[in-house]
Symmetry: C3
Subunit: 205 residues, 3 copies
């Protein structure tokens, strides 16, 4: 029998890295979806599969949380991280779902720009989760996510301004407003994770 | 003088059953409201009264929580359950309020289907809260609520698809989108409760 | 060397008073913005500055929370208060931002009424936070905020009713619905603070 070198509770970090990597995959699929002028609607199914995988990982983190006596981070932080990561993929999934539901056949450029920022945010999430498990510096990732969220917010505001200035069809406005808002929500929720991480860093300083 | 057989803190479970039963009443009233082709607008007042009763129960749970030293469940779980139950009746109340506010005079079939699922979810909530107080199995209820939430989600998506395909009046789309979203929120929030319950079960396994 | 008469952790209360006072300033600026028939769009920049100051104060509260061993209130309550105060200024900032983004050139009277209630709520927030630091009675403020929230809710409902009755331009409805909803959110979030405060009072009774 081999010794168990990695204590069971360290698996939390592996799960967090796993979730972040899945979210990164989901963001990449969304980027492929909106790359052409007409979105590739079928990508919504692939993103939904990724969302199911994240759901499963969230449940397994929360189940492990309730079964583990000594946790590597405060229980509330583990719970908040799992829930926040799940919220990011939900926003990505919602964005893809409405792009198809509304039969969007022409991608607005700002949506593409927002997705580019989402992808950059999820790169930072993967780095942050890997660093967290190795007790390495993560504040750089948090700062970068905050910067990206500000950029996403500016793009979102500009997108809404142009939408209301140029679009005369109210139904198109309703559809696009919801899509742009879901994309903005995805980066907002990455920022929520950055806030949780900042708290974790301070506590363990 | 009689012995106090039921310790004071057990009243938490009675309050939770009471809240779930009120929510079930609210869901039933919403079902009556949308049963005929033209919704019975006055039901919105009856639902508002139920919502006030739940508000009162939520406050009494939270006040008891702060006064009780030893609680039968973790304080955070009691708080989360009270808040989540209150969120369900709020979504039901919001749905009824906008049906009247927007003077809806013809119920869309999918809305009726969503309400049917909400009623089924609230039946499960009552069963789950009763089982919780008797330390009985509740995971069956949690699984069923998850299944119902998936069904509600499919109905909601189909409802939006048909709404945007068939309805040409943008103002009608704005109104109905909000109603359908509130109905979807009600089942979403039942799922939040199921998630809290799952955590409780695991902790006390 | 002088003795430190005020222990470090008491600064939490100073920060909360500081946040509430900033929020009060933000609400006052919003009131100036919507006072004339055509809103003073540039006020949105001043409100954004106030929002940044509150962000900074929220971060400093949360950083202090993680560094302080003995806190004057439960950690979860300090966290909830900081986050809820930040949520209020966010809703005020969002309201101002969309008033400008949508190039609103005529203020609807109910929006002005909602802002008046927001200002009254933030007066109560300042009083409540000052009283909290002096261990004085705060339930009067909580009751008044609840009353104001009910008033705001009635104004919001009446505003939506008139909007949908009178406005024929769907794009104007989309814009105004979002503004009225953000204003309602600001008072809702003041009520969230009142709920946290009620809990604090009961625990320390």
């Amino acid at each position: 029998m081999r010794f168990r070198l990695i204590p069971k509770e360290e698996r939390f970090f592996d799960d967090f890295v796993g979730m972040a990597e899945q979210i990164r995959v989901g963001a990449g699929l969304l980027q492929e979806m909106v790359a052409p002028d007409q979105p590739i609607w079928d990508k919504a199914d692939e993103i939904k599969e990724v969302e199911h995988k994240c759901d499963f990982l969230t449940h397994s983190v929360i189940q492990r949380l309730h079964k583990t006596f000594v946790t590597p981070l405060d229980r509330e932080d583990i719970h908040a991280l799992a829930r926040s990561l799940d919220d990011v993929i939900d926003a990505i999934d919602d964005s893809a779902a409405v792009l198809r539901l509304y039969k969007i056949d022409h991608v607005r450029q700002e949506a593409r720009d927002q997705v580019r920022v989402i992808v950059a945010c999820t790169d930072q999430l993967v780095s942050a989760m890997k660093a967290l498990g190795k007790k390495m510096e993560i504040s750089g990732c948090a700062v970068e996510i905050n910067r990206l969220e500000n950029e996403a917010d500016r793009i979102h505001q500009a997108a809404l301004r142009r939408l209301f200035e140029e679009e005369r069809d109210p139904i198109a406005i309703i559809k696009w407003k919801e899509i742009l808002d879901f994309l903005e929500l995805a980066t907002d929720r990455c920022e929520d994770i950055a806030n949780v991480l900042e708290g974790v860093v301070i506590k363990h300083a």
